[in-house]
């Protein structure tokens, strides 16, 4: 191909994503040590199994399998009727057994999908169960290892290379984070490392259907926005390289947020020959239709289903519904408020509006406070002067003490008259109008 032609080529990105999520089970994947390692004294949550001592054997935690299946089913995967654990062999100081128990040929779940907001489908290749490694830390000259994290259950979700933009990657990753929280299978906190993203990205000439011969893996990136930046940087870098005629090869890169660049990372030696074989210490897992039905029946409502319900049943707009279902906590708050509000004849739309547009802090504002303020504001619209006037006259007759106090200069005393009118109106009168009217009546 002549160089002039090469320059005119446009490239389109091919991006796939791997997400690792740590499950919030009580104990580890294959042993009975506590799985919560965060900020614990190093090497105090270990046993022969997760330390990889000679002679120790794994034993499967059923709860982890259930949570993995829950994720798989929520992503519309097929659950494998026969599934196996396998050994992924490589040497690294944080990998105590010299192999990770993972899944390769027989994953628990495969062929799922997730729909993005613009309607495009992300195909999910697999959802499989594995175990986490220990944690390497650098202390001065030394590299040290803490094995508290070793053996914590991890689920890996691998997409097909279906993404073409960094924004779609972000939306997908955020949707999965939201899903994990809805399913209550993980805290899915990126900063703590509960959830980790790895993208592989390569470019191909527009119109080409086969996959490029290389791919760059972006690893060890611990926030959504860094991932977006890294992908965008890579799209630019790779297209420049390709335009120069450089032949790109398999590579692992990280993100340097100070320099705003990706940089090559040293790979595990022989990283691509993991010598997978069936884990002989663990019998096969067979999942029946009954078990799948059971798990499906325990599945909580998912964000998309909740959105649909808010739109169809409560008349909330799609964009508001998306925000209200961002997390399970917000959704619960909204729904409880709506229940109370309907009894007070306040519409769900008004509740949504209050939460979304007035920036209500759901941590600090109780549902009752929220609804009361709505109730009061709604009454302001009803300003039937005659009705209020007759309640005000009644209040004056019934509270001679307050009236005389007011007339003697205690201006605050008017508030008890306002309160009296509000009670008569069952909170539906506008307190300001009531006050003005009372002042007028008492002045006369």
């Amino acid at each position: 191909m002549a160089q002039g032609e090469a320059k005119t080529l446009k490239y389109s990105p091919v991006i796939g994503l791997e997400i690792h999520v740590e499950l919030n089970t009580k104990t580890k994947m294959f042993c009975r040590c506590l799985a919560d390692y965060f900020a614990k004294k190093p090497n105090t949550h270990t046993c022969p199994v997760c330390l990889g001592l000679p002679g120790a054997l794994p034993y499967i935690n059923q709860e982890a399998i259930n949570k993995c299946l829950l994720i798989g089913l929520a992503l519309e995967c097929q659950v494998s009727s026969e599934s196996r654990f396998e050994r992924k062999n490589y040497f690294y100081p944080d990998l105590p057994k010299g192999y990770q128990i993972s899944q390769y040929r027989w994953p628990l779940c495969k062929n799922g999908k997730l729909k993005l907001s613009d309607g495009t489908i992300v195909n999910i290749n697999r959802v499989h169960q594995e175990e986490d490694t220990g944690k390497l830390m650098h202390q001065g000259e030394d590299t040290v290892v803490d094995f508290n994290r070793s053996g914590v259950p991890l689920v890996e979700i691998v997409t097909e290379p279906d993404f073409t933009t960094s924004e779609a990657v972000r939306e997908y990753a955020k949707s999965l984070q939201q899903l994990f929280r809805y399913l209550k299978v993980s805290n899915a906190d990126m900063e703590r490392g509960d959830m980790r993203l790895e993208a592989n990205i390569s470019l191909r000439p527009e119109g080409q259907t086969e996959l490029p011969a290389y791919r760059v893996e972006l690893k060890n990136i611990n926030s959504f926005s860094f991932m977006v930046k890294a992908i965008e940087y890579e799209i630019k870098r790779q297209s420049e390289e390709l335009e120069k005629g450089t032949k790109l090869t398999q590579q692992t890169r990280g993100w340097d947020d100070n320099k705003k660049v990706t940089y090559p990372q040293r790979e595990k030696e022989e990283a691509h020959d993991y010598r997978y074989f069936p884990e002989p210490d663990l019998p096969e897992i067979m999942i029946s239709m009954n078990q799948i039905d059971q798990i499906k029946s325990e599945m909580p409502e998912l964000p998309l289903q909740a959105q649909k319900r808010l739109v169809e049943k409560l008349g909330i707009t799609v964009s508001d519904a998306q925000i209200l279902t961002e997390n399970a906590e917000k959704l619960t708050y909204f729904e409880e408020a709506v229940e109370l509000a309907i009894a007070e004849q306040v519409s769900p739309k008004q509740v949504a509006n209050e939460i979304l547009n007035r920036g209500v802090d759901i941590q600090k504002t109780s549902i009752i406070e929220l609804v009361n303020s709505l109730v009061q504001r709604r009454s302001a619209v009803i300003s039937d002067d005659e009705t209020i006037r007759s309640w005000a006259k009644e209040a004056i007759t019934e509270n001679p003490q307050a009236v005389s106090d007011y007339k003697n200069g205690k201006t605050n005393a008017i508030m008890s008259l306002v309160g009296s009118v509000m009670r008569k109106s069952q909170g539906r009168a506008d307190a300001n109008i009531v006050k003005q009217l009372l002042e007028k009546l008492l002045y006369v």
Binding site: T27, T46, T143, V144, D146, R266, P283, I285
Partner: protein, 93 residues
């Protein structure tokens, strides 16, 4: 043909040139013996990975006592302040 150097690197086994020759000879003898498996008719035969014929052997999510930090570190050659010390894992930055 078995590439001893590559296999040794994968296996994380340090070998000398002398050993390399010896292993090459011994292992190629063993492998050519093993190649008689090629004459077995295995069409339609399912592999046996686990002889126990158990399935779905799992446990409940219930904790039991872990080792103490001292026990965990007790056999290590190089430790400090509750952690294992290892050779530096080099990372370019």
């Amino acid at each position: 043909m078995i590439q001893i150097k590559k296999v040794a690197r994968l296996a994380n086994i340090p070998i000398t040139t002398e050993e390399e020759e010896m292993y090459a000879e011994q292992l190629s003898k063993v492998i050519s013996y093993i190649d008689q498996l090629n004459s077995v008719d295995i069409v339609g035969i399912k592999p046996t990975y686990n002889i126990s014929e158990n399935t779905n052997i799992t446990r409940d999510d219930i904790e039991s006592t872990s080792l103490t930090q001292q026990q965990a570190l007790g056999n290590a050659a190089n430790i400090k302040e509750g952690v294992f010390v290892t050779k530096g894992v080099f990372e370019e930055k």
